[in-house]
């Protein structure tokens, strides 16, 4: 198999959650560029952004489908799988990207805030992986990529918070499923992005930067573009990563090392 063939995702079918903007949107475009048809999952299927994204993917000659869903609810997740199968007939790639950056300190958070963070960021990953893996296992083919955060690996603001806890939980979803699904030739990996130039991140970056100048700010002192994360997801989704399984790759320009 040539290197080009290994990188190609020609005729694969991908589901990307939280596809409306940021990393999810960039990933959807990159997977389509590599040859995949993409189901775009988001909370606001009527928003202009998602329609524009779907148009862009069709313009590349790939098929796409916009699915409105709350990925923290099982009936919604079952519907994502059913709709994708009805349209494309199979699922090869799942990118669990949906999430919220809303974060409260554990000592001050309400039970509802805790529940919301865990549901949106972690339960969604569990529900989508469970539903999609059930489709991948009989075919003995597939790959799942979870999007966590470098905040799952280090305390950046000096306090225990809901967001990092929900993302840290993802590590063992990734690793456990990597081992369990490896026997079915399904790879499960995770990327932990640093600060990315997305709307919801900019506010955090401004708040973070002064307090962490010596350590928390990436050596290149910039936020990364969503495409720089999407490219790593495209690599993990491809056969070029055929022996990469259960890995957590920090995409942070070296912040954590």
């Amino acid at each position: 198999m040539s290197l080009q063939d290994k990188i190609s995702l020609k005729d694969r079918v991908a589901i990307v959650t939280g596809a409306r903007r940021g990393i999810g949107a960039a990933t959807s475009i990159m997977l389509a560029e590599a040859g995949a048809d993409v189901a775009l999952v988001c909370l606001h299927p009527d928003s202009p952004e998602i329609k524009e994204l779907a148009e862009k993917i069709r313009g590349m000659g790939r098929k796409t489908l916009v699915i409105g869903a709350d990925v923290s609810k099982k009936p919604d997740v079952d519907a994502i799988v059913a709709k994708t199968l009805a349209e494309f007939g199979k699922i090869d790639i799942l990118v669990n990207n949906a999430g919220t950056f809303a974060s409260q300190t554990l000592l001050e958070s309400t039970e509802e805030e805790w529940q919301a963070a865990l549901d949106i960021n972690l339960k969604s990953c569990y529900l989508c992986s469970q539903a999609v893996a059930a489709q991948m296992m009989p075919r003995k083919q597939g790959t799942i990529i979870n999007v966590s955060s470098i905040e799952s690996m280090k305390v950046f603001r000096g306090k225990a918070e809901t967001y990092p806890v929900s993302k840290a939980g993802m590590h063992l979803v990734t690793r456990g499923m990597a081992r369990e699904l490896g026997a079915y030739n399904i790879r499960v990996n995770e990327i932990a992005p640093g600060y990315i130039n997305t709307e919801s991140m900019k506010a955090k970056w401004d708040e973070m930067a002064p307090a962490n100048q010596w350590r928390g700010v990436p050596p290149l002192a910039r936020m990364a573009e969503p495409e720089e994360v999407a490219a790593v997801i495209a690599f993990l989704a491809s056969d070029a990563a055929s022996w990469v399984n259960g890995e957590i790759i920090a995409v942070d320009g070296g912040t954590l090392c």
Partner: protein
């Protein structure tokens, strides 16, 4: 830029040490496939293997330079780098792959074996970076990839030995340089392969009990081929990994997780 362009190494110049076979050979050939001119080196050129690898690189339409190098010798590095600059004009990618080991457990290992192992695995990386990085700094762009091992992360052989110690130390080289060189536009990463079907590993994988153990490995009970590490090296060297630095990418099919 489409996805395949993102993984392209077109017109880059790479140096790969320990390249007469195994991971080094695969990496050299795959980087050429991705568009790079490659200087390959090895301590043993008597077998004709290194020249065969050079021939395979030339068959991709790229230029190759095959040099006899003891990677623990400063003089050999200086000669190789001078030759590469003379032939190709620059160095964009350095893959520190040469390595090996001697000695049993630390408790019985003779001192010369400890020294030998440190020289070939660790001093080689130090020398390579020291001599090559200045060329990368002048162009404010470059890429160092160190080939590590899962033995740096866990005591996978159930006993101590110098090889694992050198590989753990390599991680500190990778991380320290990643932070130091980020400002110069140079990324430094490492790959930690598990059991790969290489000649160096033959004494492990040819044993029946090893093959028995492999069956319980998560990914189909198989060993990986060197190309499955080479493709990760190409990814790290490419712009697809533009925000990946200081990372250790485990390429073991999920065995460690």
């Amino acid at each position: 830029m489409n996805t395949c362009d993102l993984f392209s190494l077109k017109d880059k110049v790479a140096i790969v040490t320990g390249a007469r076979r195994g991971i080094g050979a695969s990496t050299g050939i795959m980087m050429a496939e991705a568009g790079a001119d490659v200087c390959i080196s090895d301590i043993d050129v008597s077998t004709g293997e290194l020249e065969q690898v050079a021939e395979k690189i030339r068959q991709t339409g790229r230029r190759a330079l095959a040099v006899k190098v003891d990677a623990s010798s400063r003089a050999d590095w200086e000669t190789m780098v001078a030759q590469t600059i003379k032939e190709f004009g620059k160095i964009d990618i350095l893959v520190n792959n040469a390595g090996g080991g001697r000695g049993g457990t630390l408790l019985t290992c003779p001192e010369p074996d400890w020294d030998f192992t440190f020289n070939v695995n660790l001093k080689s990386v130090y020398l390579g970076c020291k001599i090559v990085v200045p060329y990368m700094k002048t162009q404010k762009k470059g890429n160092v990839i160190n080939i590590n091992s899962v033995e740096s992360l866990r005591a996978v052989l159930d006993h101590s030995h110098p090889y694992a110690v050198t590989k753990s130390a390599m991680t500190a080289v990778t991380r320290g340089l990643a932070r130091e060189l980020a400002k110069s536009g140079i990324r430094v990463n490492e790959i930690a392969p598990g059991s790969i079907r290489t000649e160096m590993m033959r004494h492990f994988w040819s044993k029946p009990d090893f093959q028995e153990r492999m069956k319980s490995s998560p990914m189909w009970g198989r060993m990986a081929e060197p190309e499955e590490v080479g493709s990760v090296a190409v990814f790290l060297a490419s712009d697809a990994a533009s925000w990946v630095s200081g990372a250790t990418i485990v390429v073991d099919g999920g065995a460690l997780c």
